[in-house]
Symmetry: C2
Subunit: 117 residues, 2 copies
DNA sequence: TTCTTTTGTAACAATGTTGTAACCTGTTTC
DNA sequence: GAAACAGGTTACAACATTGTTACAAAAGAA
């Protein structure tokens, strides 16, 4: 059987799996875990420029990621009519529920990074 | 997270940051979390074809991911001189230490996937 | 002899993703 | 009038990643 065929077989009629996959694809996008992590570290709403500075990426990518997070209901965006503009991002309850996992994952990452110095 | 760790985090020097980033880039590659998860679910060594079937991806991608995991010391590869070839992959102790985080992360993913049906 | 199996690798075209540079809004300051 | 600020958007070229196809090796079965 060809690779294409077995893939079609395996993924047929499995809508639940596709939702899981969607989330994993979302979480696997570049800087996504970093964004969630820096937002988790500080419970206060965070401004665009602050997030951008902390994850160290281009505006384009940060804006794309925040848009995707908002579309998935993981952050809320609040714009204030100040001059210049002020926009704050907050994690939703759903995203906050991910906090313990992220924290222990980052703990592991930091430990490994330490020991490989 | 411990105080020592968050201090390390806060005052992280560039070289440590790059190690952290390397790991995050690794974990963010496509199918990476899935591979770690399916291997975590079953403590026994797992064969290439079994991993491929469970994560539902092409041999090329699965081989690439397993190679990257091996290069980072997260899996060990054992080849047996059978015919046809038999190759088993096992998570290293380091990777097993990531198990609790991955488990609770997947729990969260499954809950969200469920509630969005 | 040829087919079958597992576990890959190599080349390559198609597709996806990224950063950069330019631009925009709207008000206040020079 | 022009610059400056935050928070983006758009277009696009450069770059990265993916799956597909073809191939290999080794030995037993048909």
């Amino acid at each position: 059987m060809s690779q294409a065929q077995s893939q079609r077989m395996a993924s047929m009629c499995d809508s639940a799996r596709s939702h899981v996959d969607d989330l994993l694809v979302l979480l696997s996008k570049s800087k996504m875990l970093s964004i969630l992590y820096v937002m988790n570290c500080d419970p206060d709403p965070m401004r665009f420029s602050e997030i951008k500075k902390r994850v160290d990426s281009s505006s384009t990518t940060v804006a794309r990621r925040l848009g995707e997070l908002e579309a998935h209901g993981l952050v809320t965006r609040t714009a204030y009519a100040t001059v210049p503009a002020t926009v704050e991002y907050t994690l939703t309850r759903d995203a906050i529920a991910l906090q313990p996992s992220l924290e222990s994952m980052f703990e592991w990452v930091l430990n490994r990074a330490d020991s490989s110095l």
